[in-house]
């Protein structure tokens, strides 16, 4: 409930002496901060109180309302019924391309249910967004992306609170050459291909508390489904640990002109059932996805007008408009499916688990998946990358919670954790000689988004002042135990090429915050409440 208390007499008397043109000032409306419950995420919960405390000091009436996670998502995205909300975006590899995160401030995404619930609207920003997504020259695109960050930062429609390091661990008596990747931790697509056994067991065992929703490439809408499926389906391009697109099933990717891309496949690739992989399969897969009900990949597929096989191993992509992220995102995220298996399936989203085809062409072959228990893959010795793979297979053990995962890691039942460890487990793991703890920076971020349609957040100066009142340093040091980094722009510092380090940083400074408010015509009444 937002109550607008009108304080004519008192505030008039108090401010008349200070400001010459006497205006009727009224109290800034009370604000409610939505955040997660303590049980869901103590960090975001505590963070809300740190912010609320400082805002109260500035004379704002603040309440913190922790909400059940799904309810929080609903309020924020579907209903846009909020003043300020603390949420986060996970760092998925395809989000290393700036397209996605920059899009969360595009005014055309401000509708109900879309990615810009705060409603930031800046026509210049939108124009630059279009320009960068069409720009093929990477240096020029970088310049535009940097400019966009600089442009929106002054307006602070969203505050990137912090980037939380992903802290994972593996058993060094079982495997070596485990290279963690930003945003992915150890459970990247490369670790299973690079890991080298040093113990008796030659299958890499991963343990985690999350499992795929399903392994239907036309129904799965979870990261956990795709993190597993990408091990047995090939993509045309894979993103290297340094997040550069590496030709994978494609031998070459060539831009004929701005809207035409030719892809040539590697020779001699085989499906796991022995059939050859051809250009027909690739063209079929993209068309199949574009014609399906499955919407998970829609953003990736959006730039494509048509795909056709132009030879046994050559495919032509016709784009509807120039798209810079096409090669990095689209080609690296869409799996290639075997035409001879899928072409007969009309309603792929309705397949029951035992009907779902699992034939891919990837470096691992699907073995089995027992829901709630485990999944396994064996190494594909016919794969072009097989000589570089040291493990005989990959197994994923599903646990009920992070506690179970950690016990399994300690007792050698698993070799690595798929998901970040609980803060309390980190020192235990560090004290265990058999375990190596790896900490990788994340380019996903936790943010506070202001509803720019509502007072006081409709005012740029108020947003700026309230941002200066956020002690994000303290959040990182206290809440994250130093395992993280204070946020700047939506493009994280670890994403060095796209990140613009020369933007306004909004260091914690209560005096500057007060000054900012005063300059914008705010003042304080007898009770110390902020008025305008």
């Amino acid at each position: 409930m937002k109550t607008k208390a009108i304080w004519l007499g008192a505030s008039l008397a108090a401010t008349a002496a200070l400001t010459t043109p006497v205006l009727a000032q009224e109290r800034v409306p009370a604000v409610e901060i939505y955040t997660t419950t303590e049980a869901y995420d103590p960090i975001r919960y505590e963070g809300a109180f740190i912010i609320a405390e400082a805002w109260r000091e500035l004379g704002l009436d603040v309440t913190v309302s922790p909400l059940e996670f799904r309810t929080l998502l609903d309020r924020f995205y579907s209903e846009q019924e909020f003043d300020a909300t603390i949420l986060g975006w996970s760092g998925r590899v395809d989000r290393l391309d700036p397209q996605f995160f920059l899009g969360t401030l595009d005014s055309r995404q401000a509708g109900l249910g879309a990615n810009n619930p705060g409603g930031y609207a800046n026509p210049d920003y939108d124009a630059l967004f279009d320009a960068q997504s069409r720009e093929f020259d990477i240096g020029e695109r970088q310049r535009i992306v940097h400019e966009m960050q600089d442009l929106y930062m002054g307006d602070v429609p969203v505050v990137v609170l912090f980037h939380r390091d992903e802290v994972v661990a593996y058993n060094n008596t079982a495997f070596t050459n485990m290279n963690a990747m930003a945003g992915e931790g150890l459970y990247s697509e490369w670790v299973p291909m690079e890991a080298e056994p040093v113990g008796e067991r030659t299958t890499l065992r991963i343990g985690g508390p999350q499992e795929p929703d399903n392994v239907n490439p036309l129904a799965s809408t979870s990261v956990w489904g795709w993190k597993w499926m990408r091990l047995y389906y090939d993509r045309l391009v894979r993103l290297s640990p340094d997040v550069e697109p590496v030709p994978w099933a494609a031998e070459s990717v060539e831009a004929v002109d701005e809207v035409t891309v030719d892809v040539t496949l590697r020779e001699g690739m085989l499906w796991h059932d022995g059939e050859p992989v051809t250009a027909e399969d690739v063209a079929f897969t993209f068309n199949y996805y574009m014609n399906s009900e499955y919407s998970y990949f829609n953003a990736y597929l959006a730039p494509i007008a048509s795909v056709e096989a132009t030879g046994d191993l050559s495919v032509r992509f016709n784009l509807s408009e120039p798209s810079a992220p096409f090669a990095t995102i689209t080609l690296s995220q869409i799996p290639i499916l075997p035409k001879h298996i899928w072409e007969g399936i009309d309603n792929p989203e309705d397949l029951t688990p035992d009907q779902i085809p699992t034939v891919g062409s990837g470096p691992f072959v699907f073995d089995r998946y027992d829901r709630g228990e485990f999944m396994s893959l064996s190494t594909n010795s016919d794969h072009f990358h097989a000589d570089n793979i040291a493990v005989d297979g990959v197994e994923f053990l599903i646990y009920a919670d992070a506690e179970g995962v950690f016990t399994a890691l300690q007792t050698g039942q698993i070799d690595m954790t798929a998901w970040r460890m609980e803060p309390g487990q980190i020192p235990l793991a560090e004290g265990n000689d058999d375990l190596t703890v790896v900490s990788v920076p994340d380019f996903g971020y936790f943010h506070m988004t202001f509803n720019t349609r509502r007072a006081p957040f409709d005012d740029r100066a108020a947003r700026r002042a309230l941002t200066m009142a956020m002690d994000r340093e303290r959040m990182v040091n206290v809440l994250l135990d130093g395992r993280g980094e204070v946020g700047t722009t939506v493009v994280a510092p670890v994403n060095a090429f796209w990140h613009n380090p020369f933007v306004e940083r909004f260091e914690y400074d209560m005096d500057a915050a007060r000054q900012e408010l005063e300059d914008a015509g705010y003042s304080w009444d007898d009770e110390g409440r902020l008025v305008r």
């Binding site: 309810t71 829609n298 029951t352 053990l397 399994a408 007792t411």
Partner: protein
């Protein structure tokens, strides 16, 4: 009232209760839980794409239509398709229920197999140190939270001694076709030891204390006096006369325990990563997987109601004093 009319009446009552519960569940989840597609936003789906997913789930139809469809399907034992697994709900629920029941039944049999005779014995030695110790142990495990006893057991037997497996139902890699193939192995039993022990210790207190206290009441009855007067041995009086008459409350308790067992002991299933129904229910509610949550809760409720019905009928056989009125 004849036995037949009584039976028919009780069965109809049971069916009515189940229908009420089904209805409450249906509306409760739809009103109380957030939209199941809410989580898809964080995956980057736009509103149109989410609407398409809602339509796929059948959530775009009017509520009453969804309700009628739900009931017609439920009557035929069909519960639709799980939103997140995209698999038939009945398949998931039965598999998980079997996993839960096997764990719970082993624990219940152990708890009652030990608790009932032990309770009877303690009542015989009432007031002694053994009695006090027995009651203390029973109450202690009854009141200790299972996540704690479970974690202590894991720490001692799993981490320190490296004796026992601490999670799941079997060792990898395995190959099993069908439920019995999976369960009838030494490996499975080995995995079940810790969770079964923890649940059994927790359950032990009820039969132990109920049996002991009812026995004490029975000792005061005239027929025990009579048996003593006839010069029967104490042991015979205890087990043949007193114990049989003290069983009734224990049977009630047993039925309720088995009934509630269908929901599993969520805590134990989580601590030991046991793939049971309790864990699944938790997930279903978390992800707003309406079909899966509805079916799980409905089956749990149906279990409790059916077992209560069975007990009522069983009473008439166990205790001739219970009449059909």
């Amino acid at each position: 009232m004849s036995r037949r009319t009584y039976l028919i009446k009780r069965v109809l009552q049971a069916i009515f209760s189940i229908w009420i519960i089904a209805t409450i569940l249906f509306f409760l989840f739809r009103m109380g839980l957030p939209d199941p597609t809410a989580a898809l936003i964080t995956e980057g789906l736009n509103p149109e794409q989410r609407a398409a997913v809602r339509a796929q789930f059948g959530l775009d139809a009017p509520l009453w239509q969804q309700y009628v469809l739900f009931l017609t399907n439920a009557v035929q034992g069909e519960f639709g398709t799980s939103f997140s697994y995209r698999a038939p709900v009945s398949e998931i629920v039965w598999e998980r229920l079997a996993n839960t029941m096997i764990l719970m039944l082993m624990a219940i049999i152990l708890a009652y197999g030990i608790g009932v005779p032990l309770g009877a014995w303690l009542s015989w030695r009432r007031g002694s140190r053994t009695d006090t110790a027995g009651i203390f142990v029973g109450l202690m495990f009854r009141s200790a939270p299972m996540f704690w006893t479970g974690m202590i057991a894991i720490l001692i037997f799993g981490v320190w001694l490296s004796l026992m497996p601490t999670s799941g139902m079997r060792t990898l890699p395995y190959d099993a076709d069908g439920f019995w193939d999976k369960v009838l192995t030494l490996d499975f039993l080995w995995h079940a030891v810790l969770p079964v022990m923890i649940v059994a210790l927790y359950y032990l207190g009820s039969p132990l204390l109920i049996m002991r206290n009812t026995m004490l009441e029975v000792y005061g009855e005239d027929f025990i006096e009579m048996a003593r007067a006839k010069g029967l041995r104490e042991r015979d009086i205890l087990y043949k006369h007193a114990a049989r008459n003290a069983l009734l409350p224990v049977v009630t308790q047993l039925a309720v325990t088995i009934g509630l067992a269908a929901g599993g002991q969520v805590v134990v299933e989580v601590v030991f990563s046991w793939p049971g129904l309790g864990r699944e229910i938790l997930n279903a509610v978390r992800t707003s997987d309406f079909p899966l949550a509805q079916a799980s809760f409905l089956i749990m409720a149906a279990f409790v109601i059916t077992l209560n019905l069975l007990v009522d009928i069983l009473y008439t056989t166990l205790d001739p004093r219970v009449s059909f009125r």
